[in-house]
């Protein structure tokens, strides 16, 4: 266990919140775990590519979305350049979801929540759920026929659940604000947390047939 702040003469920890936070981070996630240059040899598998390409899809989605947001919601309807960046955004989202679903199923069939990694799985599921809402608000923000029809239809399910009273899909301003700011921010923060958790716990070991897939079982 590493501790960057030396304990006091009686072995007590510093009373400084800052020092204790630094120590906690250093203990839980030393740099060699956050940015390792070596991995267990079983990580040399195609299945791990899905996580990385999901992040790549997210990066491209966010960058193209930033360009569209900077130019305003009308731009892509009236400009060839705008249409191109909208297309990049559109296909980035499609790839992001494709890779994310492959990553999710890959991790499911590897039972990646084992050995205390349930939080990593759960954060991933929350990211998936929020991403669906983010994409949904994006479709509502297109300002075209698809937006109109999706809004008119989707309102019924949301109203039936009571959510429609507060999340009005017919209100472009509300959907656009949620789409370009709140949900991307939530996804980025949660993806960062997901990655930190993966790095903190390391990559899960291969399943040993006959052993439990419970999250709490400690191995090795």
């Amino acid at each position: 266990m590493r501790r960057s702040t030396p304990p006091g003469p009686m072995g007590e920890r510093s009373s400084s919140w800052t020092a204790r936070a630094r120590d906690e981070v250093a203990e839980r996630l030393p740099l060699e775990h956050l940015l390792p240059d070596r991995q267990p040899y079983y990580v040399g598998s195609w299945v791990y590519i899905f996580g990385v390409v999901t992040i790549a899809g997210l990066v491209l989605t966010v960058l193209s979305g930033v360009i569209l947001a900077l130019a305003g919601p009308d731009w892509w309807h009236i400009s060839a350049a705008g249409r191109f960046f909208n297309s990049v955004h559109f296909w980035s989202v499609q790839l992001f979801f494709l890779f994310m679903v492959l990553h999710l199923w890959g991790q499911y069939f590897m039972a990646s929540w084992r050995d205390g990694r349930a939080p990593t799985w759960m954060i991933g599921v929350v990211i998936f759920a929020i991403s669906i809402v983010a994409a949904f608000t994006g479709y509502l923000s297109q300002q075209n026929f698809a937006s109109q029809w999706i809004a008119v239809n989707a309102k019924d399910a949301l109203n039936a659940s009571g959510l429609g009273a507060f999340f009005n899909v017919l209100n472009f301003g509300q959907m656009y604000g949620i789409h370009v700011m709140l949900l991307p921010a939530a996804i980025i923060v949660l993806v960062a947390l997901h990655i930190v958790w993966v790095r903190m716990k390391g990559v899960v070991k291969p399943i040993e047939p006959g052993r439990s897939s419970r999250s709490t079982v400690k191995e090795g």
């Binding site: 775990h33 940015l35 390792p36 240059d37 070596r38 991995q39 267990p40 040899y41 079983y42 598998s45 195609w46 590519i49 990385v52 390409v53 992040i55 790549a56 899809g57 892509w76 309807h77 297309s87 990049v88 559109f90 296909w91 980035s92 790839l95 679903v101 499911y108 069939f109 590897m110 039972a111 929540w113 349930a118 599921v125 669906i132 994409a135 949904f136 479709y139 297109q142 300002q143 075209n144 026929f145 698809a146 109109q148 029809w149 239809n153 949301l158 109203n159 039936a160 659940s161 959510l163 429609g164 009273a165 009005n168 017919l170 472009f172 390391g202 291969p206 439990s212 419970r214 999250s215």
Partner: protein, 316 residues
């Protein structure tokens, strides 16, 4: 070349390791995905079917527009009888004692007669004495008189004709209704009603609740959606206009609407939302649910993912 040695620290303390450059892998993935999306964007572009407007509706199908407007005035449309969050006319969808829509309350109040017809006509009546007189006549009529006029008029609309952009019905006792409907159609055809329905007392407008609900009550919007394979029976929520992929990740949500009992239930939306909420909770809690968490052990797909590992372990 893969060099193997023992990692100096947990969590891989007792496991052989190999060099692995995470950042280089991310950079390569980013580059490859960038090339892929640029090629897809350049070759296939993206969907953008122009939005429908009340103007395009009134011009394309004036009879449907007028019928819808008359029904809004009579309080006979889907929106008029919707319930929360728009009106208090209905309890909304319920499941036993569970009534989330009613509990949330009327938070976007809509009075279809006033918001969709009377108020826009009041704005448009400046300098139009016939319209001013018709509005006064209609509003001073008793409820039974208004109902009689509107019932007769909407019935006559079944055999309406369109002449020079105007809706013509057989003669009858419709009171001031034909004047109201004629002026509303004129304002709509000019594009003025699109703006009037957005009016909320502010200069800037971003809330399209009223015009979308109004259009949704007619058959014009759903007809366009049918042509674009977007209706509910066509798995509409996961489709996109044209030949583009839509929100395919909503397939599980959409599938319930295609099968019993959901496709015939009057509270299908509430049932589907509740079911999807439970399924999402199940996915979230997979690590703690016996059976679900054990499937990966029973279905040896993991052997594909860790093929090399098991081969080497078997060789030891």
């Amino acid at each position: 070349m893969l060099q193997e040695r023992t990692s100096p620290a947990p969590p891989t303390a007792t496991i052989r390791t190999i060099p692995y450059d995470l950042l280089k892998e991310l950079a390569i993935a980013l580059g490859a995905c960038l090339v892929l999306v640029i090629v897809l964007a350049a070759a296939l572009s993206s969907p953008d079917v122009p939005s429908a407007t009340i103007q395009s509706w009134a011009q394309a199908d004036p009879v449907d527009f007028t019928t819808t407007a008359a029904n809004e005035l009579a309080g006979n449309t889907t929106t008029a009888g919707y319930g929360a969050p728009y009106t208090s006319a209905d309890a909304g969808q319920t499941l036993g004692p569970i009534a989330p829509s009613k509990w949330a309350g009327v938070r976007q109040p809509i009075d279809t007669a006033n918001d969709f017809v009377i108020s826009p006509l009041n704005h448009a009546s400046v300098g139009d004495t016939d319209l001013t007189s018709a509005l006064a006549s209609f509003q001073s009529g008793s409820d039974s008189q208004k109902t009689a006029w509107l019932t007769a008029y909407t019935k006559a609309l079944n055999d309406a004709k369109v002449e020079n952009g105007k809706v013509v019905v057989a003669s009858g006792d419709y009171g001031p209704v034909p004047v109201l409907m004629d002026r509303l159609l004129t304002v709509a055809r000019s594009g003025g009603l699109d703006g009037l329905l957005l009016t909320s007392g502010h200069f800037y407008q971003t809330d399209f609740t009223k015009p979308l609900l109004f259009m949704g009550d007619g058959t014009y919007l759903s007809g366009l959606a049918q042509n674009e394979h977007l209706t509910g029976s066509q798995w509409g929520m996961m489709n996109e206009t044209g030949q583009y992929p839509g929100q395919t990740w909503l397939w599980l949500y959409t599938v319930w609407y295609q099968i019993p009992p959901f496709n015939t239930a009057s509270n299908a939306d509430l049932l589907v939302v509740g079911l999807m909420g439970l399924l999402t909770l199940g996915l979230l809690l997979v690590p703690f649910i016996p059976g679900l968490r054990d499937i990966p052990r029973w279905v040896p797909i993991y052997r594909l993912a860790w093929r090399r590992y098991y081969r080497e372990e078997a060789g030891r």
